[in-house]
Amino acid sequence: MRSPFAYAPRRGPLQAASPGAAVFYLGALLVVAFLYSSPLVLAAVGVAAGLAGVLACAGSAVRAAIKLGLVIAVPIVVVNALVVDRGETVLLRLGEWPLFGQVNVTAEALADGAIFGLRAVVVMIAFAVYSACVDPDRVLRALRPIAGRSALTAALISRLVPVAAADASRLRDAGRLRGPAAAPLGRATLIRRLMAGSLDRAVDVAATLELRGYSLAAPDTAARAKGRSRFDHRFYLAGGLVLVAAIAGKVIGADGFHAYPTIEIGVEPATVALSALVVLTGLAPGRRNA
């Protein structure tokens, strides 16, 4: 079974764009997610990243990222509410806990945790779109002249993950084929088997990379120019617009969220305008020619 996050070659502007343009576009959305705490802006980044994923035919990756993000977000909210005893609005008093001391659940700590959780979901979506739509080989080729060893490590890892997923799928199938009377194959057993064979598989992957000419010299300028896409400027423009607007918005106070001491959500015109712009840039991977 193929992971929804695995890269699949498709015909689309985001997939066709050069790695630099795609990374810049998705990176700009990530920068906004880390720069802002306003729930409106964060939601806008999430919508933009999701929209980009859906338009780039990576809807399953977006759905999986939302599910995984929520799995991460819920514990963040719970832990933040238990650990942080700040904020004026005490909702629950949970008495003295070992290590934690007096535990009071406040509305402000819940809201702050929710913002952290929302950010986690948004980041997961953006990374999922990147993972599903940007060819890792092209990214690594682009990085190789800058950091050869890091690129080799990243290449090994990025190749090993789908190989391990495929191995796991095969092992699971083999386990099922033993028949209904056989003991179920637990995850621990599966992981142990995968770990035991991971070194061999890594050597296989490295050998395959070598056979494909990974160690050859970096492509020359002309070849790199050939790798550019007519969609590049669209993504550079969208990412640049988002970055400039986000920085300007930050300077003029568009990020009007404060969890403590009491929750304040500032919905200024600048916040709304930035959110609208961010959502619109989610349309960049659309099929209309630039």
């Binding site: 700040r86 005490v90 909702l91 629950l92 008093r93 403590y260 001491p261």
Partner: protein, 305 residues
Amino acid sequence: MAVAIALLLGAAVATAGCGVGPGSGVGEVSLTVTRDYGAEPVMPVAADDASESDTVMRLLDRETEIETRFGGGFVSSIEGLAEASRDGRRHSWFFFVNGVESPVGAADFALLGGEAIWWDYRDWSAVSRAPAVVGSWPQPLAGGFEGEAHPVALECRGGNAACAAARSALGEVGVATAGGSPDAAIRVLVGPWARLRDDPAAAQLEDGPQTSGVFADFSKERDGGYVLEGLGEDGEPRRRFGPRAGLVAATRRYDAPPVWLVTGATARGALAAAGLLSADRLRDHYAVATEGGEETPLPLPMASR
């Protein structure tokens, strides 16, 4: 079965001090907000009923307009007066509970009822901490500090009249003094400086305000006597008082209970200092000097202010 478990859980929660909302009241607390070492009130003194989940931060937020930093743990502004650097001098908000500088942040200081909370906006360029102050009289002598009651030991070191006056002043606010020096007692040292300076806590005054938090010093004269000097906010001497000047100050050594100093250059100075032990004269001051019936809050203000 499920009902029994729910009832058991409910009973456990109820007995462990748990519940919905901020909880029941624990008593009244007072809130004072001043600036420049208590020289000027920022708002009228407020009194509020504290609940069992209240902290210094929650009370402050209820009574004033504040802004915080570092995830709500640090107060950066109260009533629009924000921490700042002006002419190279740094100003921030500091708080005392029962006249003792808190060892934890406002968001982590739980209120038990009866506390006197004092927020002061001050220049901390020269002296970053003042471990104890006298401006919340009769606290901490009457109510203890950091959530615990402490005995009060009155130590008379010469100057019987000053000691009697101090004992009387303490009695008027309901503070019973313990005999000897019991462990964990808040000590009140009364007497001329020459007799007090052997005490390790009192001797901190001679190490300067960076150590003691007290903006006063006693300089030794050629004749072997001492002269009280009032220091400015920059920690530099600004005024020399006469031989009959008295001083009431508080300090603290490490984590030991605060030590109050009721002293002067002479026994008459100590007697004058004992006369300062009242709310009217000490309120909202870090330390107070007196000479000829005139009180001088310490530190002395900077000329530019």
